[in-house]
């Protein structure tokens, strides 16, 4: 039951991400590369959700007989944290640029003569 719920959950999220990304791509607010990246990423997530045994085959194929699913998902979590950190840094940089722009704009706005 839990597996079925998680499979449905993954598919619903994948559809939402794909639809959003496609709309952004059509309106040219997202590049083809970014659209393809999210499409392929979420397609892989859905495949793994539907056929979880793929992970075990992949681990064995890669020669990691002793590594289990826990190791794999541990690596996934570390990778996700890395992405979150990168996003945090990027957002912070954008916020600082926006702040500086608005401050410069306020200070160039002939404010002394408006007094």
């Amino acid at each position: 039951m839990f597996v079925l719920i998680s499979q449905i959950f993954a598919m619903v999220l994948a559809v939402i991400v794909f639809a959003r990304s496609y709309v952004d791509f059509r309106s040219r607010t997202e590049s083809l590369q970014v659209f393809l990246f999210w499409t392929v990423t979420w397609a892989m997530i859905v495949v793994v959700a539907l056929f979880p045994s793929i992970i075990e085959y992949t681990i064995r194929f890669a020669g990691g007989e002793r590594a289990g699913l826990g190791t794999f998902f541990g690596m996934v979590i570390v990778f996700l944290f890395f992405i979150v950190y990168r996003m945090y840094v990027k957002i912070e940089q954008i916020e600082q640029k926006l702040t500086r722009t608005i401050q410069e704009f306020a200070l160039r706005d002939d404010w002394v003569n408006k007094h």
Binding site: E95, T99, I102, Q103, A106, L107, W111, V112, H115
Partner: protein, 235 residues
């Protein structure tokens, strides 16, 4: 109407303001026109208000700078301090626009800076915490500790927005916080630049209005997280 920036010395009073139309006029009207031999020049930074804060402040004789969108109290304070530099201010005061700080206390704080030849004077609400709700006293003490952990400097009221700076102090400090972390960042700069400072007791006026406008619990959490993120970036 106040005097424009004149040949005599000037005390620029920086007031970041967000939707303070209800009180900004009253606060500005209570600011002394002169302190000692200095002319006072109020500078209101309208941080993206959706009410008439800017217009009322301008009508009351203040210089008004407007952020086209809300950036936060830290960014608004920095804009005001940059404006003070452009006005070649001799002394710079920062204070809240919501009426929590008593404009009558500007003069003693400025006088303390002049007489004591300090670089910074901090108006401390905790040296005489009369009228401050106990929860706020506790929250401010906690924030003093967090400020100490992040910036290695302990002061009696690290979160006070009522401060006075000398011209030299303003030229030496380097700030970039957008939010409430600005107060702690200033304490860090006092330590980093080895500035001479003094904490002077002030009264915080807790009206229904200023309580509603003041910091809330979630703001405090954000502030602590923001300070720790700064600590992590430095290490």
């Amino acid at each position: 109407m106040r005097e424009r920036v004149s040949e005599v010395g000037t005390v620029v009073i920086v007031m970041p303001a967000l939707n303070e139309a209800a009180v900004i006029g009253t606060v500005l009207s209570k600011i002394p026109v002169r302190i000692d031999s200095y002319t006072t020049v109020p500078v209101v930074v309208d941080d993206g208000s959706t009410d008439a804060t800017g217009e009322i402040a301008r009508r009351c004789g203040a210089y008004v700078l407007r952020h086209v969108t809300n950036l936060g109290v830290g960014a608004a304070t920095i804009t005001g301090l940059k404006a003070a530099r452009q006005l070649d201010a001799d002394i710079i005061v920062t204070m809240d626009a919501d009426g929590q700080h008593d404009p009558a206390e500007i003069e003693p704080l400025v006088q303390c800076l002049i007489d004591g030849q300090f670089d910074v004077v901090i108006g401390s609400r905790l040296l005489s915490s009369n009228g401050m709700p106990p929860t706020r006293v506790m929250a401010n003490l906690l924030l003093n500790v967090v400020t100490f952990i992040v910036y290695r400097k302990i002061v009696s009221d690290s979160q006070s927005g009522f401060k006075v700076f000398s011209k030299a102090a303003l030229a030496s400090i380097d700030l970039n916080s957008s939010g409430y972390e600005i107060c702690s960042e200033i304490i860090g700069e006092i330590y980093r630049k080895n500035l001479r400072y003094k904490s002077v007791p002030i009264r915080a006026l807790y009206t229904k209005y200023s309580r509603a406008k003041g910091q809330h619990f979630l703001n405090g959490i954000n502030l602590i997280l923001g300070l720790f993120m700064r600590l992590m970036r430095r290490t």
